[in-house]
């Protein structure tokens, strides 16, 4: 008789494990984090370039148009000896592809919204994405606002302060980067890694 009572216990444990997995997807354990990150922003602001610079250390001024989305992953080590594996979804920029974006940002622990500092329109689009993520993203999503193409400062049309102000207002992390010169690319991801909530030891 004793065995019958132990059985349901075991099966429910198994089920629990299954259900928990997607939720714990973002964090595997305290020392080795796995993070789903999604890059959003207007077409041509350099999302793919940021990812390629971060993952492969390359920059190609004539990279291909992204259709739908593309995936890359990269692991970084932090000073406190934790490692963070970024699972990066780089999405297509054209606005009609926004219909497919929820597929990719759903369940993401980090949302990186990119705009082009030479294009005010892309800054507007970035604000749209921030709103969308706030509304439909994970409730504890870490948001970063990135002004890319910082090397083109002579063509700048979006003042740094605008970015800082908007990010501050929305509780986001803000940074200006240049995928071309690799400026602030690693810093961006390191800062994000620091901001990711660590799994509490009790769980």
């Amino acid at each position: 008789m004793g065995c019958s009572s132990s059985l349901p216990g075991r099966s429910s444990e198994q089920l629990g494990g299954l259900n928990n997995n997607p939720e714990t997807n973002g964090v595997s354990d305290a020392k080795n984090l796995r993070v789903k990150l999604v890059l959003l922003g207007d077409s041509g602001v350099g999302k793919s370039c940021i990812v390629l610079r971060f993952v492969r250390g390359q920059f190609d001024p004539t990279s291909k148009v992204t259709i739908g989305a593309s995936f890359l992953s990269q692991t970084i080590a932090l000073q406190d000896s934790t490692t963070v594996k970024f699972e990066i979804w780089d999405t297509a920029g054209q606005e009609r592809y926004a219909a497919l974006a929820p597929l990719y940002y759903r369940g993401a622990a980090v949302g990186v919204v990119v705009y082009d500092i030479t294009s005010p329109e892309s800054f507007n689009k970035a604000q749209y994405w921030v709103k969308e993520l706030q509304k439909h993203g994970s409730p504890d999503i870490v948001l970063a606002l990135v002004g890319n193409k910082a090397d083109l400062h002579e063509k700048r049309e979006v003042p740094v302060q605008d970015g800082i102000d908007y990010a501050e207002k929305n509780g986001m992390f803000f940074i200006e980067t240049s995928a071309k010169t690799a400026d602030n690319i690693n810093q961006l991801f390191e800062e994000i890694a620091k901001r990711i909530p660590r799994p509490s030891t009790s769980s």
Binding site: L7, R96, L103
Partner: protein, 872 residues
């Protein structure tokens, strides 16, 4: 120059034979496959050559018969016969390796050219003649446009056939122009270069310059060319498909105009949107259905005998289309000739140039196109400035042609690919066919069909690969994350180019999206074993992405796709799409309601209208309108304006007029009915799912029971083992007991033995004792005897003495007698008491004889012995 060569060498090494960039990690594998590709290419070009040669002959005999029937065109019959004989000669020359002149320059160095002179001339002549031919085609357009009854439509079809037939003989009559010879020379030069290129690295600058000069010339000279005659049969086959869909579109125009639909529409139900079908069915008057049947029978009858070789063609297509034929074969598959409206393309471009930004293609699309052009196959040798200009023109023209799609990322790749294979206008019409028909609703603003297809694909995956999907679910990976980009890009950039082109071959041949699904399923089948070993989401996605990107075995992929998933058919997909579409529509409508940031002022209703109400009629109207315009040759600007106004109206979303609203309401009603139906379907599905779940539950219960029983069995086994152990222990105890028993037995025996020996000893002692007693008795007797003897002697002595002595002495004898007696008694007593005390013994020892002393001594020792033994 040497440096340039080197640079080109390096560059070339990173590109495949189509000129597309290779990923560095794939270069090695690509090299492995180059020889295989070459081998396959050789096989397939000979197969196709065979096929096309036979086709040509067949086509001639067929067209001959047809033409003979056409009594009305008496004069052309002669020409036709002439052409037959002409062609008979040509048949030997026109090999499968021919390519049209312009296509070759666009394709660049990749195509091998072996153009036969006759063929060349023919192509050129056809081009020269196209205006003439077109003029005879136009009445048909008008008829089609105005056609209100099935009869008329059929008549127009007949007319079109006539036109097609009359086309050929006229071409034959024309003679070649000097320019053609020039072209031929060029292309022959080209052929030499390209042959070199295939074998080795091409001479970079020379070749490039060469192609540049030709390209500029080509783009100026002509943007349109007809495909080789050997492919006409295929073209005719495919143009039926086009006609079918065109007729359907006409139906929409008829509906929009408040007319009754054409009964002919009934025949083509497989390819079109399900929603529309329902509308057709419901709106159709029953009176028409009978005539519809007969008319469809008629067309079926005329259709069937035409293409007995379709299966063979299908087989060939599965094996791949030869490189140098691909551009033209694709055009034939898409039915470019049947789609083309003369001067439409130029007019679109002219309008785009003349009209200000406000009226033309919306600025957002223009900007997006500008952004994307340099990002389309960056660095491809053929996509230089001229190539990019063509690409831009094509995309802008399409955006203008179909404002409901406009421009969508991914289309740049398709247009680019087509431009590499064929002249610009041909590419445009092929592109129109692909996007407007095969991928209708895919790249529109809401991308509804592409989302629907993803749901369908997910369902198919769950059905086909439940284990894999479970694993991916467990990892938290959605199949659609990867299949979405696959479908949207039609695998361009997702797979190696050879595979992409092979998939496109089949896809364009079939004229629907079935191949997308089959290919995606085939990829899953090929890579599911590897995917099942992955341990986290990132690894799984990366793996699938990388594996797909290195699917160099294109034949295996296409074969797996075409043979392994025969159950995935267009009809089945349509059914599934119908089931899933409402869910997507709901989401889309939800998004409208929310009001997006970049949503313009369009209202919900009008938006709904613009996407529910199929865009095609408007465009078609416009297109046919264009045809009319060109036919009248009077550039009726009024009509033009009206048409532009119409298309702009739909753009600007001024309220549709009442009739259109009625139609829209009808469509909406149909949609609702459809939704209701699909809701019922869904309910049924849910029910089955519930049953399934219950079954699953039962299964789980059963497994639980089994587990329970198993545990019990295990317990019993354990008990059994315990018992065995106990038994064993008992046995051991028993054995020990037995051993002990044996020991005690032994001890007992020993004791018994001892006892018996003691008994023996006792007996011996008894005997000895008896003997001793007997001796004692003897001794006593002797003593008695001795006493008596002693008495006797005493008596004797006394008698003597009495005789001698006084009476006193007489008394003395008495006392003396008494005294021996005393002594004897004393002796006796003393012997008896000897055991008790030595003193007595000592006393008596003096008196007893030596014999007695000895006896008593042995006795004593005996006694002592006995004592001692008993003590032991």
């Amino acid at each position: 120059m040497a440096d340039n060569n080197k640079a080109f060498l390096v560059e070339h090494r990173r590109r495949d034979s189509y000129g597309f960039a290779l990923r560095p990690q794939h270069i090695e594998r690509y090299r492995e496959y180059v020889s295989i590709y070459k081998e396959e290419e050789g096989e397939r070009s000979s197969k196709w050559k065979n096929f096309l040669d036979r086709q040509l002959e067949y086509g001639q005999s067929c067209s001959c018969e047809e033409e003979c029937k056409e009594k009305s065109q008496g004069e052309t019959t002669e020409c036709a016969l002439e052409s037959v004989s002409n062609r008979g000669r040509e048949g030997d020359y026109s090999s499968g390796k021919t390519s049209d002149s312009d296509g070759s320059t666009k394709c660049g160095p990749e195509t091998v050219l072996q153009l036969s002179e006759e063929d060349k001339e023919e192509v050129q002549c056809m081009e020269e003649l196209k205006n003439e031919v077109q003029s005879s085609k136009e009445p048909q357009n008008e008829v089609q446009h105005l056609g209100e009854s099935g009869k008329e439509a059929q008549h127009s079809e007949q007319l079109q056939k006539d036109v097609q037939l009359s086309e050929e003989p006229k071409i034959e009559v024309q003679s070649a122009e000097p320019r053609d010879l020039q072209n031929l020379e060029d292309s022959q030069k080209e052929a030499q270069f390209s042959e070199k290129l295939i074998k080795e690295v091409p001479p970079s600058e020379v070749r490039k310059e060469d192609s540049h000069s030709k390209e500029t010339k080509a783009s100026k000279i002509k943007k349109w060319s007809l495909i080789r005659p050997s492919l006409h049969a295929i073209e005719n086959l495919m143009s039926f498909r086009v006609k079918n869909s065109k007729e359907k579109k006409n139906l929409h125009i008829a509906k929009a105009g408040g007319h009754l639909p054409l009964p002919k529409e009934m025949e083509s139900q497989t390819e079109e949107d399900v929603e529309e079908e329902i509308c057709v069915k419901e709106i159709l008057d029953e009176n028409f259905s009978t005539s519809a049947e007969t008319s469809s029978e008629n067309t079926e009858a005329t259709k069937e005998p035409f293409f007995p070789w379709k299966e063979e063609l299908e087989f060939l297509v599965h094996g791949g289309v030869p490189k140098d034929l691909r551009g033209e074969v694709w055009q034939a598959f898409v039915g470019v000739k049947a789609r083309r409206v003369e001067r439409y393309y130029e007019e679109l471009l002219a309008e785009e140039l003349n009209v200000g930004e406000s009226d033309g293609v919306p600025i957002k699309w223009k900007r997006q196109i500008e952004k994307d052009i340099p990002r389309t196959f960056p660095g491809h040798p053929a996509l230089d400035d001229h190539g990019r200009d063509s690409l831009r023109r094509l995309l802008l023209a399409y955006a203008k042609h179909n404002p409901s799609v406009g421009y969508c990322q991914a289309m740049n790749f398709f247009a680019g690919l087509l431009l590499l294979l064929m002249p610009e206008e041909n590419a445009f019409w092929t592109f129109v066919g692909i996007i407007d028909e095969f991928f209708d609703g895919y790249y529109t603003e809401e991308m509804i069909e592409s989302q629907v297809d993803q749901l369908v694909f997910e369902e198919l995956m769950r059905e086909r690969f439940p284990k894999l999907v479970n694993h991916l679910d467990y990892l938290g990976v959605q199949v659609t994350w990867l299949s979405g980009p696959w479908f949207l890009s039609i695998f361009v950039n997702m797979l190696p180019w050879e595979s992409v082109l092979r998939i496109w071959d089949v896809l364009l041949f079939e004229g629907n999206r079935v191949m997308l699904f089959r290919t995606a399923l085939a990829l899953m089948e090929l890579y599911s074993p590897a995917l099942l070993t992955t341990k986290d989401a990132g690894d799984a996605i990366t793996l699938l992405q990388n594996l797909a990107g290195s699917t160099f075995d294109s034949s295996q992929l296409v074969l797996t796709a075409c043979m392994g998933f025969l159950a995935v058919t267009e009809a089945r997909l349509q059914e599934m799409r119908k089931k899933h579409r409402p869910a997507i529509l709901e989401i889309v409508e939800e998004r409208f309601k929310k009001g997006r940031v970049w949503n313009d002022s369009k209202g919900l209703a009008s938006k709904l209208y613009s996407f529910k109400h199929d865009h095609v009629p408007l465009i078609e109207e416009e297109k046919i309108g264009e045809g009319e315009v060109s036919q009248l040759n009077t550039c009726s600007s009024n009509l033009d304006d009206f048409l532009i106004g119409l298309s702009n109206n739909s753009e600007a979303d001024s309220l549709p007029d009442l009739q259109e609203q009625v139609v829209w309401m009808k469509v909406e009603l149909c949609r609702l009915l459809d939704e209701k139906r699909s809701a019922i379907l869904r309910a049924e599905e849910l029910e089955t799912a519930l049953v399934e779940m219950v079954k699953e539950d039962n299964r789980r219960e059963l497994t639980a029971k089994i587990e329970l029983l198993e545990q019990e069995v295990a317990e019993l086994r354990q008990a059994l083992a315990d018992k065995k152990e106990q038994e064993y222990a008992m046995l051991q105890v028993l054995m020990r007991v037995e051993q002990e028993q044996r020991i005690t037995e032994e001890a007992r025996l020993n004791a018994e033995q001892a006892a018996s020996t003691q008994k023996n000893a006792v007996c011996v002692l008894q005997e000895k004792y008896d003997k001793a007693m007997a001796k004692v008795a003897q001794m006593e007797q002797r003593v008695v005897m001795a006493e008596s003897m002693l008495e006797a002697t005493i008596h004797y002595e006394s008698g003597q003495a009495r005789a001698v002595s006084s009476p006193r002495s007489m008394r003395n004898p008495s006392t003396s007698i008494e005294s021996p007696r005393r002594r004897i008694s004393l002796f006796g007593l003393g012997w008896r008491d000897r055991n008790k005390g030595k003193p007595v013994n000592e006393d008596s020892s003096d008196c007893t004889s030596s014999n007695d002393g000895k006896d008593s001594k042995t006795l004593l020792s005996h006694n002592n012995n006995k004592d001692k033994r008993q003590q032991d």
